[in-house]
Symmetry: C2
DNA sequence: TAGATTGTTAATCGATTAACAATC
DNA sequence: TAGATTGTTAATCGATTAACAATC
């Protein structure tokens, strides 16, 4: 696999994957980059260029085998085999994430859930018992979980992160609106809901002809 | 205001805004682009370039007045005065959004909430009563709401969108994993949680040295 | 005035698009 | 073979970075 793939390419792959999964479920066996592009509002060249970073997946004159391409894109993204993740913080957002179907569909299983709030510990959400944060290092280390989802209040985010790092987590998906300090070997993905709403608000104003 | 601002610039403005709000609340009066950049892990030139699209906000040799810059960035984004929004779909994600503090902080108030599910209609979430979708056109049109947040299942998203458009909504923040068809004058912002997780999963694999 | 920092013009870098050869 | 569609090389476009003049 090549060293430096453009970030925009990486962020389009999940779109391809989902579209392919949908095509597969509706019984489509073969798809051209042109057709895929129509469905996604992305040019066919862009799609072929993106895929070309990783290999040759199509048949000239024919197109792509839907099932096979889906498998291979999933493999590129590390979504080809079940991956257990830890969820920390079971406020409203945490509970929404715990119940989000999209994860399971891509092979991500929330294997453990933690919260500091004693009134939440012991409750069952989405079929899982909430554990106390005290047990996080032990449990995460023991189960060998790599990815943690962080949906705690901003003021607690760095503290929880330090614990997660100590527990051996190597990727953190952070919904708290703070930049986390982590060692170099830990990947952080910052999710930032308000950006979406503010950007939308800007384009709304612009559309008005402002 | 200039016509064509780079999209990346627009998406950084909310980060500036939040950082400035935080500085203000900690009593910082003046900040340089260098300092702001350190806090956000963005270069100072990038920040100055971004701001330059909209005008001159700083004082050479001094820096930026935190309160004044915050006000002006908020104005650019249309977050300088309260904006009412409609929330459609009160599943787990919808309820999380209804309770999300970040919106209020930026002047967005969820003024009305709708759901199809009769067992949800009438319930109170985050201090608001859930209304039936049947009343959506009337209520939205009557209150003059511009922005709708869509957190309904994928299969219902287009149907609800058509109603929202009929009700006069001009911007839709869509959490359903489908591309919406809307008339040209309606802005759509596609939010896509799974992209974040899959991208993280990719970079985790890469980090491994794969 | 000297030091600091902005705003802007020019150079570089990276991503998208266009053109086309390869091949099913 | 002719038509379709991929994969790739070259050209264009757009965003970031570097350099620097303006000015507090």
């Amino acid at each position: 696999m090549v060293g430096n793939i453009p970030r925009p390419t990486i962020e389009r792959l999940p779109l391809y994957l989902r579209c392919l999964a949908r095509l597969k479920s509706t019984g489509v066996d073969v798809v051209s980059s042109e057709e895929l592009g129509k469905l996604l509002a992305i040019t066919s060249v862009q799609i072929r260029k993106d895929l070309a970073f990783f290999g040759e997946f199509g048949r000239r004159g024919i197109g792509y085998d839907v099932a096979s391409l889906a498998r291979q894109v999933a493999a590129i993204l590390g979504a080809d085999q079940p991956q257990r993740i830890a969820l920390v913080g079971l406020g409203h957002l945490g509970q929404a994430l715990a119940n989000y179907e999209g994860f399971r569909e891509h092979g991500f299983n929330i294997a453990v859930m933690f919260d500091v709030d004693p009134s939440k510990v012991g409750l069952t959400v989405a079929g899982q018992k909430i554990l106390p944060v005290d047990r996080m290092v032990d449990v995460v280390r023991h189960t060998g979980i790599d990815i943690a989802v962080l949906s705690v209040p901003a003021h607690a985010a760095q503290r929880v992160t330090d614990v997660l790092v100590r527990a051996g987590v190597r990727a953190i998906w952070n919904f708290a609106p703070v930049r986390l300090n982590v060692p170099e070997h830990v990947e952080v993905r910052q999710e930032n809901l308000i950006v979406g709403l503010l950007a939308l608000s800007y384009y709304l104003k612009e559309g008005k002809g402002g």
